[in-house]
Symmetry: C2
Subunit: 152 residues, 2 copies
Amino acid sequence: MGDTKWLNDDEMALWQAFLTAGALLDRRIEEQLKAESGLSHVQYEVLVRLSAAADGELRMSELAADVLTTKSGLTYQITQMEKAGLVRRRSCADDVRGVYAVLTDKGRARLEGAAPGHLRVVRANLIDVLSDSQVRVMKEGLEEVVRELGGA
Amino acid sequence: MGDTKWLNDDEMALWQAFLTAGALLDRRIEEQLKAESGLSHVQYEVLVRLSAAADGELRMSELAADVLTTKSGLTYQITQMEKAGLVRRRSCADDVRGVYAVLTDKGRARLEGAAPGHLRVVRANLIDVLSDSQVRVMKEGLEEVVRELGGA
DNA sequence: ACTCGATGGTTCGAATTTGAACAACAGGCG
DNA sequence: CGCCTGTTGTTCAAATTCGAACCATCGAGT
């Protein structure tokens, strides 16, 4: 035992491409979003989740899980967004500890303004670069990876 | 003009899975690496690049590009790694501005110690979750994305 | 009602990342 | 040679992230 099974060429190339694509794409998204809407990617995701939720509000913990950030990370971001008026905190009725993050009108407007530009970047650099069948296969594969990582 | 072409279900799912897989996988890698070898993922990548390079050394700028980080980000990390004795700085003969990051024996040893564990995580959560054909398709697709993003 | 092991959010300090500004130099070209 | 533009790597402050510690509360089980 203890002998390591290395990656073959395709596997290595996949891993490398996965890292590179992720990093470069994130960079581009971040800069586009910041320039065009003054939002960070995390903040954009927060707005997306909230706007998709019933009444435009979610518990901090659920939001943190959705946005793939840590609890403290979300606390920080929500504080920032609250200062910017994009979001508001509301304490939970049935659980004194609980806190809801609530989307404000301003927040919703900001999201609507940012979405098209963001989408353009995602399309231009990821979706439209792939064929329909590539999209399907990669979706299947990555969903399996997510499942494995317990992010189901 | 101005009307936005949204994503269909598969495209949306792919984008979501891509983000989630990336974030979760990075998290797991980071924690495994830190726990088992006291390295961050960036530092690990630095060691990998240096060990792959001739004489185990690379110019700062090239290394920064390889590792997908900014110039200042690399300066910081190399300083940390230098303190830890994993790396050493050497100034460039033919270009007074230039600086080489050089892998030390200790650095190489640390990499060798860390690699098997790191590889296990990559395998368990990405590679081994996919079929050979999925690996090939995803590799092709992601390489195309990287090309599009100018990371050729 | 009471205890005890989870849960929800925040707080804190340390580590890291970012981007702009900077200084020093390289390299081509008139 | 002298000028001009682009590089190289570092520095600095500000923004963000991380993780552990913390407090208050919940909820199941007794």
